[in-house]
């Protein structure tokens, strides 16, 4: 009988970690569903099925145990993040394409669980927004109240995708208005007069962001993530947006607008905190999070894409190994010598 110490193990497993991440997403999903209707739940199901199917095929091809790896929950987390970042009325095949690409290329071709240098969900987002920019920019207009059947018909392609059904995200709308208006609009007027804005950011989107924040704090409380990445992300996004907002409040939205818009909260707590593709040292995590927040701001405000979180995370994924290498913490007893 060969068994090495320790003989006692904590009750922990990869699937437990992944399940808790999914649980932490629920408040955000609930707020999202109340904002855009049941479409998001349909997308979650589509993405999950696609991810599991792709995962099963890849595991079989790679000769890995289905029982062990299909149940680890990692594919489900990827699927959910994709469903939550794609437009809720996106056609089913777009979500499936993104998900399959994430699982097959971004995850398994790099070696599967734990080996992917890039966050698979963000790879899916980047690939689809580059390949299908129009479809990836169609968000349901606020106040559009469609039932489950109507939404499913649109997602499954059984109903025409009329332009009236979709609009820009509040973040995108703000950028477009400020750019096109060339100074004739200011942030305060837009927020006060347009229907898609709530108190600080997009109407209803504030609540979705709040839901992610809540779930993220729970993850932190459960010690599944540390405070470094979210705090640095939120901090750097607030700093840069705050600085420009103070400089010109008419042309730059407030930090609160940026924190509660787009993928900021989801990115800060659920995406940039992905341990596989992110940094692992405490200082590295701070740099990683701060880089994500800063790049996300630059891309969403000055770039051509509606939001910048996906590209920011991918760029930081690229830098993570070298950041880790340069930020190795001193070991016990070597602090004054480091």
């Amino acid at each position: 009988m060969f068994a090495p110490a320790p003989f006692l193990l904590k009750d922990a497993s990869v699937s437990q970690v992944m399940i808790q991440v999914c649980v932490a997403l629920i408040p955000g999903i609930a707020a999202y569903a109340s904002l855009v209707g049941p479409a998001i739940l349909v997308q979650l199901v589509i993405a999950t099925l696609a991810a599991l199917a792709a995962e099963a095929v890849m595991l079989t091809l790679r000769g890995k145990s289905l029982a062990l790896f299909l149940t680890d929950g990692s594919a489900i987390v990827t699927a959910w993040l994709i469903a939550l970042t794609f437009p809720p009325l996106a056609p089913w095949w777009l979500v499936v394409t993104g998900t399959v690409f994430a699982v097959v290329v971004a995850k398994h071709l790099y070696g599967g669980l734990g080996q992917n240098p890039f966050n698979p969900a963000m790879v899916a987002f980047a690939v689809c927004i580059v390949a299908f920019p129009a479809l990836m920019s169609q968000w349901p207009s606020v106040g559009l109240q469609l039932g489950l059947i109507d939404q499913m018909n649109i997602i499954l392609g059984w109903a025409p995708r009329v332009d009236a059904l979709s609009g820009a995200t509040p973040l995108d709308a703000m950028k477009t208005a400020l750019k096109l208006g060339e100074g004739s609009f200011d942030v305060a007027t837009l927020l006060a007069n347009q229907d898609i804005y709530g108190n600080f950011a997009g109407r209803g989107w504030e609540w979705v962001a709040g839901g992610y924040l809540l779930g993220g704090l729970w993850l932190w409380h459960r010690q599944l993530i540390t405070w470094h990445v979210p705090l640095a992300f939120v901090g750097s996004l607030s700093l840069i947006s705050g600085a420009l907002w103070l400089y010109n409040p008419a042309q730059f939205a407030s930090p609160l607008f940026h924190l509660l818009s787009g993928g900021a909260m989801l990115g800060a707590f659920f995406i940039a905190t992905d341990p596989v593709s992110g940094c692992t040292t405490p200082r590295g995590k701070l740099i990683f999070g701060a880089g994500c927040g800063l790049l996300a701001y630059i891309i969403r405000v000055f770039g051509g894409y509606p939001d910048g979180v996906a590209f920011a995370v991918l760029l930081m994924n690229l830098s993570a190994p070298v950041i880790d290498l340069l930020t190795q913490p001193p070991v016990f007893g070597m602090k004054d010598k480091a």
Partner: protein, 577 residues
């Protein structure tokens, strides 16, 4: 007594499982049918056996003599007959044999004459010798000979003497019970250590899950009016690790590369060591028994005082193991190991026997890939990055594991404990360490072989040269004899010699270095000449006296003309003749 405690990073809180075994007093284990006493029970040299099969030994009689300074004697745990001195499996994960003295008890338990000493009236060197002769080693785990740690470090003043009663491993309660029941003698032992080391402070660290032990130790310290601080430290595995306890009590962090904590003015002893040292000093009793916890998958877990050398299966039977017991764990569940077979004996460092069963320690779930969650890094008390070391150990990139400070790893098991992918991280680190050691040994062996080869070559060259020189000398002597004969024949050569010799002497006194060089050149020339001599033309050998005389005359003239040392046959003259 309030004092400011420090924290170490990381650590885990496994279920302590101590309540099973700490509610009953220490019991005396019955005399076993036979005792198998391994000679190598401590760090350092293996004691030499000084008994043989058939000898009658008394309880406490030395059977193994310390081999070197870092080594401690081994004694007969009871009186009886030595059955054999032979190789037996020792309680070590390797399962390797080691030399053991097997004793059949005679049941009389008859002591040798014990000689207590008064450590205050004895020179420290003699106290160290006494402790070494009594086989006192660290009972906390490593088994380092106690006298080696009591010798004050040169240059660094001793700030703190720390007594480790933390006992952080789950299941183990032997130190707890020792402190509860024998606090008085533990404190007296600590006082001996204090007298030898002269520290500024004495701190006794006990995890706060042992309130009875803390109370007993405080009472004993007060009763003896010693200025020792009994400190309750937070229960957090591995608070009982020497470096962790030092950190908690003093704030000092001893680097992994530092061999001895004494270099930072701290020394740590286990409470059991203090107790044994006191028994050795005050009663002259060598270390022949210890307290050990028998627990785990058993009906009646309890602490026993057992003789060193008692086979483990006989002890486990005392605690009535459940039928599904499938092995014996020596030590705690975090750092212990399954013994190679149940008959292996208890040694000085055996603090706990745990009956193993899957019910208690479920078999590990299959290993998953690392997801770099960093739980291991957060749990590591030495602030290492276990997942990085794992990555490199797995890739057999051992140089990188060293860059990530693998040798700072104390193998406490915290990383494996928390890993959600159930990776046996400590195993990987042990593997990497042993590979690095093996490679180092191989490299050393290769270096040695190279040195040996080079020396052999050098020796052969030297022998060759020596031989040639000897030959040359012999030839030169012979030639000189010939020349002398020739010179005697020619009367006028005397002048030449008289001129040449002082000139040589002058050179020698002016420059000894040049002289040495000249000697070498001469030797070389002599060698060359010897070789030539072997092929010397025969025409010089069979000369008529007239011819010889003529030749000698020529030579003598040449010598006189060139002011060189008289040589009977000059190189160029050979051909000319």
């Amino acid at each position: 007594m309030l004092m400011n405690l420090f924290k170490f990073k990381g650590g885990v809180k496994p279920p302590s499982n101590k309540l099973q075994s700490n509610h009953l007093p220490i019991a005396q284990a019955p005399m076993p049918s036979r005792l198998v006493v391994p000679l190598h029970q401590s760090i350092g040299g293996t004691p030499r056996p000084i008994v043989q099969a058939g000898d009658h030994v008394l309880k406490g009689q030395m059977i193994g003599q310390a081999d070197g300074w870092i080594s401690a004697a081994v004694h007969a745990p009871t009186s009886g007959t030595v059955l054999e001195v032979a190789m037996h499996v020792r309680p070590h994960p390797s399962g390797l044999d080691s030399l053991c003295v097997v004793i059949e008890p005679d049941g009389k338990d008859e002591w040798i004459t014990r000689t207590p000493i008064d450590h205050k009236a004895t020179a420290p060197a003699d106290v160290f010798h006494h402790l070494q002769q009594c086989g006192i080693v660290g009972l906390g785990g490593a088994g380092f000979p106690a006298h080696g740690k009591l010798t004050p470090s040169t240059g660094v003043p001793m700030d703190e003497l720390i007594i480790n009663g933390a006992e952080c491993e789950p299941f183990i309660t032997c130190d707890d019970l020792l402190m509860r029941e024998r606090a008085d003698e533990v404190v007296r032992g600590i006082a001996v250590f204090r007298d030898l080391l002269q520290p500024k402070k004495v701190l006794i660290g006990i995890e706060d899950n042992k309130p009875e032990a803390i109370a007993a130790m405080r009472a004993a310290v007060d009763a003896q009016k010693e200025p020792f601080s009994v400190v309750a430290v937070p229960t957090l595995y591995p608070a009982g690790g020497a470096k962790q306890l030092i950190r908690v009590l003093t704030g000092k962090e001893v680097p992994g590369s530092m061999r001895s904590t004494a270099d930072m003015g701290v020394q740590v002893f286990n409470v059991g060591t203090a107790y044994s040292a006191w028994r050795a000093i005050a009663h002259g009793e060598p270390l022949i028994s210890r307290i050990l916890t028998i627990t785990g998958n058993v009906h009646a877990p309890r602490n026993y005082e057992v003789l060193i050398g008692t086979p483990m299966d006989e002890l486990l039977a005392l605690a009535l193991p459940h039928p599904d017991t499938d092995g014996i764990l020596m030590g705690g569940p975090m750092m212990g190991f399954l013994v190679p077979n149940p008959q292996v004996p208890v040694v000085k460092t055996t603090n706990c026997l745990i009956a193993h069963a899957d019910r208690l320690f479920p078999p590990k779930a299959p290993e998953m890939p690392c997801i770099r969650c960093g739980a291991c890094a957060r749990a590591c008390p030495h602030e290492l990055q276990p997942f990085e070391m794992y990555w490199f150990a797995r890739a057999k990139n051992f140089g990188k594991t060293q860059e990530y400070n693998i040798f700072d790893c104390i193998e406490c098991g915290c990383c494996s404990f928390v890993c959600p992918s159930r990776i046996p991280l400590v195993q990987y680190f042990r593997f990497a360490k042993s590979e690095i050691w093996a490679r180092e040994r191989e490299k050393n062996a290769a270096d040695q072989a190279k040195t040996r080869f080079e020396f052999k070559q050098y020796r052969e060259e030297r022998e060759k040269a020596d031989k040639a020189e000897k030959l040359a000398k012999a030839a030169a002597a012979q030639a000189a004899k010939k020349a002398a004969e020739a010179a005697a024949a020619a009367a006028e050569t005397g002048v030449a010699e008289a001129v040449a010799a002082p000139a040589d002497a002058a050179i020698a006194t002016v420059n000894p270095e040049k002289e040495a060089k000249r000697a070498t050149i001469e030797a070389a020339m002599a060698r060359a000449k010897a070789q030539r001599e072997a092929v010397q033309p025969k025409n010089v050998d069979n000369l008529t006296p007239e011819q010889q005389q003529a030749a000698a005359e020529i030579e003598a003239r040449r010598v006189a003309a060139h002011l060189i040392a008289p040589e009977p046959v000059a190189p160029d003259s050979e051909k000319s003749e």
